[in-house]
């Protein structure tokens, strides 16, 4: 079974795409490039689209800390779930600021989450048909939910 050996080789390579951080990272040398150090969620990609994805996760993550935790504090602590009903949302969405806040949070969270799931698919499936199907399911789901959420935030008019 020659093909089995090849498949195993491919799988082994792909499974290390997003490895867990080293438990005891050696202190980086002063002249060592940042890209070669390890210890973060996964090593910084050397370039191309993966570097942009890596950067996006960190920048959107920082933004989402304020957006999502802010949303939780406002809607679940300052107000509580007991107060949230149609009238509450209608009042909130009368202000364009909150629509913009929610839309920014929605799109950043969907892309951040989808890219996170893409990392999981890369790590836990082998290259091939199954991975392709999972990736397609991921992209379809992401687009459907992002469009649905965007439509609601933009189109809602209180009755």
């Amino acid at each position: 079974m020659g093909s089995g050996v090849v498949l195993y080789g491919e799988a082994t390579l792909s499974m290390n795409h997003h490895p867990p951080p080293s438990p005891l990272p050696s202190p980086p040398e002063a002249d060592q490039p940042l890209a070669e150090r390890e210890g973060g969620a996964h090593p910084r990609p050397s370039g191309g689209i993966e570097l942009y994805a890596w950067l996006f996760m960190r920048i959107s993550g920082l933004a989402l800390i304020f957006l999502a935790l802010g949303h939780l504090i406002i809607m679940h602590m300052i107000h509580t779930v007991d107060q949230i009903d149609y009238q509450f949302v209608a009042g909130r969405y009368a202000n364009l600021f909150w629509r913009g806040y929610d839309l920014t949070m929605l799109l950043l969270a969907m892309i951040h989450g989808a890219n996170g799931i893409r990392y999981l698919i890369d790590d836990y499936t082998r290259p091939g048909k199954r991975r392709t199907i999972w990736i397609r399911v991921l992209y379809t789901t992401t687009i459907v939910f992002a469009v649905l959420g965007t439509w609601v935030i933009a189109a809602f008019q209180p009755k």
Partner: protein, 116 residues
Amino acid sequence: MYKGGVGQWSWIFHRITGVGVLLFLLIHILDTALIMLGPVAYDHVMAIYKHPLFRPMEVLLFAMVLYHALNGVRIIVIDFWSQGPRYHRQLFYIVMVLFVIGWVVGSYYMVRPLFQ
């Protein structure tokens, strides 16, 4: 196979909480979309969230978001601060202390209406 240590646990929790928060986000997009059907449909679904049995879920969701946020900062610090990898263990302990404090305080405000 990679065994044990603070780095592995923080990494596993980051993945679990990330998936958990994303799953809730999908549900939350659906429940919010019901507002397009009018007050009756929306308020009916919101009544489910207001059930006391949902409070533990709410507190758990807050825990997942808070951990993912704090550990995300830890990841960024390790990636961009030259001394980050050296202090990754201490950074994790700081994250856990902030997590426990934030979770207890935040959860108190979340469940407060139950005791009033």
